[in-house]
Amino acid sequence: MKRGLLSGGRLPAALLAFTVFASMRGAAQPARPPIPPDIAGEWRLDNNEQDTTAQPPLGDYLGIPFNDAGRMRSDTTAESIWGTPEYQCRPHSAPHQWRGLGGARILKEQDPLTRSVSVYHFQFMRSLDRPVFMDGRPHPPAYAPHTWSGFSTGEWVGNTLKITTTHLKDGYLKRGGPQTSDMLTMTEFITRHDEILTIVTVVDDPIYMDEPYVESTTYTYDTTSTVATETCNASSFAENGGTDRHWVPHFLPGQNTALTEWLKTADWIPVEPTRGGVKTIYPEYRAALTGAVKTADLKVPSSKSANDVARRLAESSPRDGEVHILPVQGNIYMVIADGTNLAVSIGADGILLVDTGTPEMSEKILAAVRQLASSVVANPTANRCFGANCPGKWGWSSPYIGAVISAPAPVRPLRYIINTSAAPERVGGNERIATTGFFPRGSQFGGAVENVGPRASVVAHEEVLNRMSAPAGKTAPMPTASWPTDTYFDEFHKLPEYMNGEAVIVYHAPNATTDGDSFVFFRHSEVIAAGNLFSTVSYPKIEVDKGGTIDGVIGGLNKILDLAVAEYRAQGGTWIIPGRGRLSDTADVAAYRNMLTMIRDRVRDLKRKGMTLAQVKAARPTMDFDGRYALLPGSVSPDAFIEAVYSTVK
């Protein structure tokens, strides 16, 4: 039991938390009871958003162990962000959901063989269904998508259901201010005492907090409780006014003057603890309040985080010299080649590869894609006809028997490579991989490069070719065989015909990370390969000397958001494959766009005030995001990113 739970005006919640922890610790990992308590049913929330612990006044961070980054992020995030098209339909963030509106419905799904509960389903007002898997399955890999309710597994520890949740999106700890990162993990302990359900939630977010945040919530069994499953029809409408659909509401550092507004009617509360911080939530802080000791000198028995964010970020972009494949949607697979994300379309027409990775990975990429293509396209399929009843098929037997008694046909060839920029990890494998493909060319017609031989078409914006080649008589930075063979110069380029049953459109993102950036939209599969425009593990690498600008990166992300559509409640739908990191959806791209816009506006404001680059770096305008996007070794450093932004904003 942490003594700090008794401070900060959170006594009832802390006592409940104490009760649960004490009972759990008193028994050393008791075995699962023969019949676990039944938690299914309709439950009524006893402490809801009217309670200021769930919806505090703006600027009230009492009891939250914020670090400086968490404080800055919360101070500068505007509640109006809910009005943006990408967020209007989002459900409550997972840490807040138990304190959200209405009641909770808990359903159970049983294994038909063992009759044990295999999945609990939690549902709240306007929420998504939240499955909690009880069947022992592992959590997905770190490069799998994050969702609003995350991925949850449960186990009984005595009479308490312990739920572990990962893969959550960024959001808020409480409504109206305190923010969380998308790297938080959540552990819940759910205990039923007769008609009372107690939920103790431990939110572990070391990006923004110095120790896990603990709170408890109680529900009462109530058969009359209802859970409104209201649909959301908001995303078509502009809630924030104005005419800029890409508007990102936020406060510049120091601009949010309302943070202490609430203290005008609660003037007995000193300002310091309202800013949160681990040292203000333990009883030792009373000595600081009396002036006997400085807060900075206090020693408090804070808890350690069990959330190894550095490891999880590294696993979301594994630099292990191997190739990992994640099926995405329709024809499209995400290929992670030593940390660089590629996309591959596989189908009856052949193979299309977006980017080729580094040269060192070419053989492994080829082997992985061939194996995937073989299993996807050439596998024997179920027998749906027989004898002479197979229209359009040659022979007297069925295709199924033909596939079984002979070797399967070879996979269709690699036909296209699309380069999203001239960055080494995007074009490095062009030379080796393109020569394994085939693109039919009429003699002397249709190719940007003559006599290219039987190789795949390599499509890119013409500035990519300019970066890789050189005028006659000069030495090109890249060998001829690696150059794009088919370039475009317009705002977009459609492949001339369907590929694997769908339109493939290459969009130019002008002056983004370079002057030759593209992203690729697979229109039927509903997948976008974003290249270096988007990463979930790093700030963008903006190459100013090659025409890159921060406004171009933000513009490219906005173009992606214009094309992408969420499936339901700001989740899923069009999937976006980032250049590095986990598979993402519209809300993830919006979160990245929001972060870049906030930092761009901060740097621009400081520059317009006459500050030098060194002064802007010293002001640390990226501080609240550095723990998230500059943590991974090899990611773009805050100084390098600030320099790129500073030199390209006006």
Binding site: Q55, W82, G242, E261
Partner: protein, 130 residues
């Protein structure tokens, strides 16, 4: 008058906290009130909240498109406000709480008046945004 409107506004905030998907108090500056006069360009009647979009000048006199957040369709229906109650092109006068974010043209409805026929909302008991 200003004090009266502020009291109405505070009541609305307290009552509405349990229903909105976002926090009113965090979104809007409940200590300020603005007046917008202009042309209605869109009326979005829906749940959980309706929106009146209008073109009206900002504090610098520039015409902006404002999104004024209003009550949900069920609440407005109970108060006699129907889809046909407001028409595109109507000249309207609105008092509202402004957004806390500089440069954002959204506001929370306190009252709406159409001078042409005297249609009003926000002056009778219960006419607050829940």
């Amino acid at each position: 008058m200003r004090t009266f409107l502020l009291v109405i506004g505070a009541t609305a905030i307290a009552a509405s906290a349990a229903y909105a998907h976002h926090s009113y108090a965090a979104t809007y500056d409940i200590t300020r009130e603005i007046k917008l006069e202009g042309k209605l360009v869109q009326f979005v009647l829906r749940n959980p909240h309706s929106f009146v979009h209008m073109e009206a000048p900002d504090e610098h006199g520039e015409i902006r498109r404002w999104a004024v957040e209003w009550a949900g369709s069920a609440q407005l229906d109970a108060q006699g406000v129907k889809r046909e109650s407001l028409k595109v092109g109507d000249q309207i006068s609105v008092t509202a709480r402004p957004s806390r974010v500089t440069g954002e043209y959204r506001a929370l409805m306190l009252s709406l008046r159409r001078p042409l026929d005297g249609f009003t909302w926000g002056t009778r008991a219960g006419e607050t945004v829940d």
